[in-house]
């Protein structure tokens, strides 16, 4: 009986289908890439591996830190002379790394759980990707002393700025209605986000 390969799964992903047309390995993506400038990351090499068709090399890639280095700025999409999008290929590789469980093999892959725990709470509890209550200068020291002042005086500062902080009305930082949060949870369940969160918890 034929066993589905990692490549079979990758090719089903529309992000992969859109991302890889025909790479000529010119390296324009690497030249423009902000991640390549600050880490051991080379989108040209990633696309080269994917295009090679080697199942073993693909498995190694999915198990590595490499696929987690991209910053998703999409600068590569603008500049590629052959209309490839390495960042889309990265999206498909990340999804497959989680789905196959290979994310557990790399440090950066395992760190997805930490991001997920924070952001899934913000999204499902508050309805925002990030929410005021969860941001402090211990986790985000770059927020600076002005943020400590805002947090210490949050009701007064946010009222001064006309916000609807935790209020049941329209406006900035409002409490998002329960019916909206229920919709969000139902969508997450229906479309596979909850299943992905569960995978990320299985370290």
């Amino acid at each position: 009986m034929y066993k589905k390969t990692l490549y079979d799964s990758l090719k089903e992903d529309i992000r992969y289908q859109e991302g890889l047309k025909a790479c000529i390995n010119c390296g324009t993506c690497t030249a423009i890439c902000p991640a390549a400038g600050v880490s051991d990351y080379d989108p040209r090499e990633v696309v080269d591996i994917v295009q090679s068709g080697s199942e073993d090399d693909l498995r190694k890639l999915l198990s590595s830190d490499t696929i987690w280095r991209c910053g998703e700025c999409l600068s590569c999409k603008t500049r590629c002379p052959r209309s490839n999008t390495p960042a889309y290929i990265i999206q498909a590789l990340r999804a497959l790394s989680i789905e196959s469980g290979l994310f557990r093999e790399s440090h950066q892959g395992r760190m997805q759980r930490d991001i997920m725990r924070t952001m899934s709470d913000h999204m499902l509890e508050y309805g925002y990707c990030v929410y005021f209550d969860g941001i402090d200068t211990e986790k985000f020291p770059e927020q600076g002393p002005v943020w400590d002042w805002i947090k210490e005086n949050k009701e007064k500062v946010l009222e001064r700025l006309g916000c609807s902080y935790k209020q049941d009305r329209a406006g900035s930082l409002r409490a998002i209605p329960k019916s909206s949060l229920d919709d969000l949870k139902a969508i997450f369940k229906e479309t596979g986000a909850m299943a992905r969160f569960k995978k990320l918890e299985e370290l």
Binding site: M116, F132, A186, I187, T191, A193
Partner: protein
């Protein structure tokens, strides 16, 4: 009558023109902007309603678009597509057809989802099915999807006539030097969806020109601010973010900019806060006299020039002091009122950074 921003004679540039609806908008708020520039979106709506007489709807039932989670590899694209579909369904319920996003990441998300539905029609059918099953909702794709900075750009000439101040140095009479920073997802994903495209975006440069400033064309002008989604969210990876912003600061410094203007809430925030970090860690400052270069959003700078009180529009929540900019323009303000609460209540002041001047 066409809604194109200017009549185009050169066909090569026609693809970089953009249709922007004239009125009646449904606002999709930004998660990041609400947190770090909490007054900005209300100022944007005030400008539209009170200065331009436009109708814009602020829906309490909307949620995150999930863009940051999607670009961090946390959730499937199907989830994002269905959340986007729910936002469109809300817009439909409210009786609107024109969708305006406050967030540049969101603008990229909405554009990407619509393009995907167009190129892969089976995904549109699946999204409809998943939305109906999970929420009982149906939706239509908006007639017009734009970023909020597109609207300020569209009405820049009308706004310019109402300005109390201009981007001009009060003492010298010379234009202020303005760095524009366009969020990557405004036009790098779909150049045809941004005014001027990805290589020569004009959305903020146009405001700069119209409001009397002078564009700074520096080598790293189009470089990413370094958000990087998961790279910023993970503390151990945050060097990615500050390094890329520093590449920009080092590149722009020789041109002595007076102001950075951004259309993406994340970029504007990073270009503010990383100056604080670089000052504290390296002792390097990028403005004059130990100050930083003020980093403002398009609606903040527009409101400021219209004569709004800087402390009413939230400029006190920036970490880089804005006073050098206010003084250069000659904007009237009361320094001692900067950190007051509502009705003038004394609520103390933030601690001063060790290096960066305040």
């Amino acid at each position: 009558m066409s809604n194109l921003i200017v009549p185009v004679k050169n066909l090569e540039w026609q693809k970089y023109q953009k249709e922007i609806a004239n009125d009646h908008y449904y606002l999709a708020r930004s998660c990041i902007r609400q947190n770090v520039f909490p007054a900005a979106e209300d100022i944007f709506m005030k400008i539209l309603r009170e200065e331009l007489g436009k109708d814009i709807f602020d829906d309490p039932a909307q949620t995150t678009c999930t863009g940051i989670a999607y670009h961090s590899g946390l959730i499937p694209f199907e989830t994002t597509m269905t959340v986007v579909a729910r936002q469109f369904s809300l817009m439909q319920d409210a009786g609107y057809e024109n969708f305006v996003c406050s967030c540049v990441t969101s603008f990229g998300i909405y554009s990407e989802v619509i393009e995907t539905w167009h190129h892969f029609p089976e995904t549109l059918a699946k999204t409809r099915e998943q939305l109906l099953k999970s929420t009982g909702r149906v939706f239509e794709i908006p007639k017009n999807v734009v970023h909020a900075s597109d609207l300020i750009f569209k009405f820049r000439e009308e706004l310019s006539k109402k300005l109390k101040y201009r981007l001009v140095n009060k003492e010298t009479g010379k234009p202020l030097k303005v760095v524009d920073h366009i969020g990557c997802h405004y036009a790098k994903i779909f150049p045809e969806k941004g005014i001027g495209g990805a290589e020569y975006p004009y959305v903020l440069a146009g405001l700069t020109d119209e409001f009397g400033g002078e564009q700074v064309n520096y080598p790293e002008r189009r470089h990413c601010c370094g958000f990087g989604f998961r790279q910023y969210l993970l503390k151990e990876n945050r060097g990615y973010s500050v390094t890329n912003s520093k590449i920009k600061f080092d590149s722009m410094k020789p041109y002595k900019p007076d102001l950075i203007i951004g259309n993406c809430p994340g970029c504007t925030f990073f270009l503010d806060r990383w100056q604080y970090v670089i000052a504290e860690m390296e002792g390097i400052t990028y403005g004059e006299g130990g100050f930083g270069i003020p980093s403002l959003t398009y609606e903040e700078i527009t409101a400021l020039l219209l004569g709004y009180n800087p402390w009413d529009i939230g400029l006190q929540v920036h970490q880089v002091a804005v006073e050098p900019l206010l003084d250069k323009i000659g904007i009237e303000y009361v320094k001692s009122e900067k950190y007051l609460g509502l009705n003038g209540e004394d609520i103390g002041e933030p601690q001063k950074p060790k290096v960066l001047m305040q």
